[in-house]
Symmetry: D2
Subunit: 336 residues, 4 copies
């Protein structure tokens, strides 16, 4: 039984609490901390049988009954808490991104060299049934050598403008999942990034120096080309599809829906919209990523998404920002 | 070059005229006859380069330049003109049904024994790309031994009540195509018929002693079971699907549409309705059935749909009527 | 918190134990009984925190800490234990079928009149996301008045022959779910049944007097016609589809799969087979039916599947058997 | 009746001959010329009733009985013959591309200013049922303002290496159709092009200085972003899909197949591969583009694809080549 302390009781911290408590065998949340802990949150947490509830996450790090910590605090604290937790000998599951700074992510990597605990980054989409099926088809050689990777990733609605300003921009906030997905689907790093982008959804996003619509081209280290298309607002909901095309064929996935029901009437043949947003679409993936983290801790095996993936995705994000700023393709080797 | 005379210049006669003229190589319409021939129709026919236009079909039968006749007159004349044409040594393509009377169909069969010309019945749906693909999958053994056949056949709108009274009823008019399809898909005759039926679309149909909604169960001679469901009115258009399930798997088809375009918006994901009715859906099949008839004439090979199929489908239709009347399963051997 | 005692620790009892423990809020399994309780089963049950483990179910009925019992014992004991539980004032969730005998089901109905506890029958498929979506479309009037109901229900593999002999035959064992589904989808009872059936999967099934392939036609009390097709063995797995056609349109569902991944290669475009069998396909439905039962108990509202449904489905099953035996359509009013 | 002379009797010339003769009303091929005319070709042409067969296309231009010419000769002669034909007062249907040189296309445009005959460029895909349905959905406002355009265009197999060297490279030979499609789908010109490309299909293609795999990003004049992905070899056949995403929704098309038949068996659920190549997929479009050209000639209305489209597509192609050569985004205004 892996005993888990969750640092951060915001939305994603609560998702992990519920998911671990009801859908992950062999793990148990024993402590939870949040600087803004209040009565309501405390009651919610206690409802899952968690007894140790703190404001200060350091109490979790100091607790010998905690085997692993989940870092679900604000992004700017991920890397420093990670280093502390690693030095305290705790296994770490860190939400994405590890940081917006390469230097700070490197500090986490350095800490791991000194204290080789398990460290997993929360790229939950790798554990989605559809994307995992693509990767399996690629690994099984069903499509041959990958030539083209296509990822469609569109949110149902943009975040509020206040969030935009602290998000690091669309590439470090939203597309970072797609960057990791590209690497995951064909098991390769990225060498070069080019972005064409626009503000088409909401001028307020542009006013904050960010974009809301983008087509990002990646050259992968294995020679494949990849394209990601992003929008902050799809009128029909959360659009999450991928396709890998290779020398022997293609594998592609479509969106998930609540049901397969289709109504044919005088207006046409109408099926359901995609599941609304990430909590609906990736609930299974949130549980599965934790199961595999728990497995890695229990059996002392490699985690499925390590610090390299955490570093790679941020580098691609920074290269994407640079590509927009300088209107040219940017090599990952330029980012340091 | 097979020289064709078309008897009957109603809708289906015109369909064959246009289809043969523009889409069938190796055949040519040289004559056309209709007792109600008028200027407009004559102009239409001449537009396809047909020079011999008559009121009396006997002129076609007497014409040594005509190799084959298409019998597209009213149903009650199909069998007698067929016999005349056969006796005149013409190859015959006869629209379905050959007749509503077993005796009269037998007369055609007898004439064919005496004069073995080519005689094909116009069960055009056998030549539809989708249904032909099912039959091919069955023939190729991809689904093993057939166990269950399912046919959905729903019209977009009922015929006008006046037609109902001369149609012979839904089973001889509409379902007859599905009866032939059942035999075709698994290459087997039928042994027994049971019908559950209702008047749900239009009370006027019931007032004429007919039904507009039916589920027909067939026991096939090869041991398979078959179910056909019919409605005279599908709000979304012409619904023409089939499925064969067997010991090794299943093959199924869906409806054809004008395009594959799908629109996703706040209301869902909407594709097109099926092609509206038989002229749209089966236009390719109308050409293909003639191509194969012409092949059979030119190469003296067997026609793809002979008098046996013409007889079998009517027997099933009469058994279906008897099943409704007597509220019990009826064996085909009872029909004679 | 509804405290539940489970009677019967076979496969379905264990399914409910796990499902209630991990996926149903507001309910808790406190006791479990099975005459063949052994160490392994006991350990499994204890793993879910259940403390009271018995051989004799009467200990559960006598326990004042038990609010509701789940009857998951062998079919021949369902009705008698139901009556005992009702008389003991326990709410009852009874697995299907309630019994093979109309008389014994009536005894349960009579007990309920005397002691109006909540009594729900385990027709889990009503709670499946796909079938629930069909019913909702019907209730919302999207397809108008229902005219035709079609249910495809094919198992991936037949039960072992020993089970066939105690199963009551395909109609009371397997099709009973489909009978209930027909009633559920269009919210109507059944008036008449006709069956065409065959032994095409395994001669051993025929040797036991049962069939393995069937097409069942139902006349519904609301005027709609329904057809169910069954096979004991679909090479591609568990085939569970339905369609309702009405005056304004049609609603249909397809099978669920592990993922939406589709591989296109030189052989074609290949998607996944349906989820293997009922434990995979209906796991969500097993949780949902219990959630609604718990709701009904807690809020003293009507259960979603009561004794009428339990009685109706068995009557249809008995009529189906009679239809096979007497080779004719059988009215439900003949069954008593 | 529009009387047509076809210049060039290669593959595409023959396609137009057959298509006009059998599927286009109101037009007739009266003459055909090819410098390499031989007996076999002559027999083929005569089979369609064409009487005037020449080696020298100038005989067609001089023929007062010819209303319009189809220029189906080799690409390097398109523009000069176009100018000659325009000056001779013939309407012109010119195969794509008009030329590889902007200057020469401009010469055609200049000739048209002096002699305003009808001049249509053979971008047949605009007339495909699927792509036309996308454009209609866009025009009807069903997806709102276009934000993202996605075009997948993959050939079933690469041309032979000898052809590569005269083709002008993938962008002027293959992608030029997709460039025109991008402009067509959202009714907009292009402002900037960026290409990521690779040689992944056949090293021989790379040896000739060309690429076989590419992801091309376009900035459209209307603000939308577009991405095209190309491969010279898709193992599953001709992949021709498009999608337009906008402020109110998305419209997308899938590939066409010979039939809708799907086989479910122990290996999965398998549908057919896309139609093999352009002759199969776009046969209907070849007829439709001519129908609309004939309409424009007969009714003196605007042609659906004029010289502007011919110029725009080549400019984009040249910008794409420059983008590869200089590894940067290239504005169309740089091409002159």
């Amino acid at each position: 039984m892996v005993r888990i302390g969750i640092i951060g009781a915001g939305r994603i911290g609560k998702v992990h609490l519920e998911s671990i408590s009801t859908r992950v065998k062999g793990a148990k949340v024993v402590a939870m901390a949040d600087p803004f802990m209040n009565d309501e949150t405390e009651a919610f947490i206690k409802g899952y049988g968690v007894e140790k509830i703190y404001k200060d996450y350091k109490q979790i790090l100091a607790d010998p009954d905690v085997d692993a910590v989940f870092i679900c605090s604000s992004t700017d604290t991920h890397s420093s808490i990670s280093v502390e937790a690693i030095n305290a000998g705790k296994h770490v599951f860190c939400e994405k991104p590890v940081d917006h700074s390469i230097e700070k992510i490197q500090a986490v990597a350095d800490a791991l060299k000194a204290h080789p605990v398990k460290f997993q980054v929360g790229f939950n989409r790798r554990f989605d049934h559809n994307f995992a099926a693509i990767r399996k088809a690629v690994d099984d050689g069903r499509i041959g050598d990958p030539h083209i990777v296509k990822i469609t990733s569109r949110d149902p609605e943009p975040p509020n403008p206040a969030y935009i300003s602290v998000s690091g921009g669309i590439f470090l906030d939203m597309t970072i999942h797609d960057f990791d997905m590209a690497c995951f689907l064909v098991n390769s790093d990225v060498e070069e990034v080019y972005v064409a982008s626009a503000v088409l959804v909401d001028p307020a996003i542009g006013e904050q120096g960010d974009v809301d619509t983008a087509i990002i081209t990646l050259k992968m280290a294995n020679g494949a080309l990849c394209v990601i298309d992003n929008s902050r607002r799809a009128a029909y909901g959360y659009d999450q599809r991928a396709e890998v095309f290779g020398s022997k064929g293609m594998v592609a996935t479509s969106n998930d829906t609540v049901s397969s029901a289709v109504v044919a009437d005088a207006n046409g043949v109408t099926g359901e919209k995609p599941l609304f947003f990430f909590l609906e679409r990736y609930m299974g993936a949130f549980a599965e990523e934790v199961r595999q983290f728990v497995d890695a801790v229990e059996n002392d095996t490699e985690v499925p998404v390590g610090i390299h993936a955490g570093m790679q995705s941020v580098k691609i994000g920074l290269a994407a920002k640079k590509s927009v700023a300088e209107h040219r393709p940017v090599k990952l080797s330029e980012i340091c």
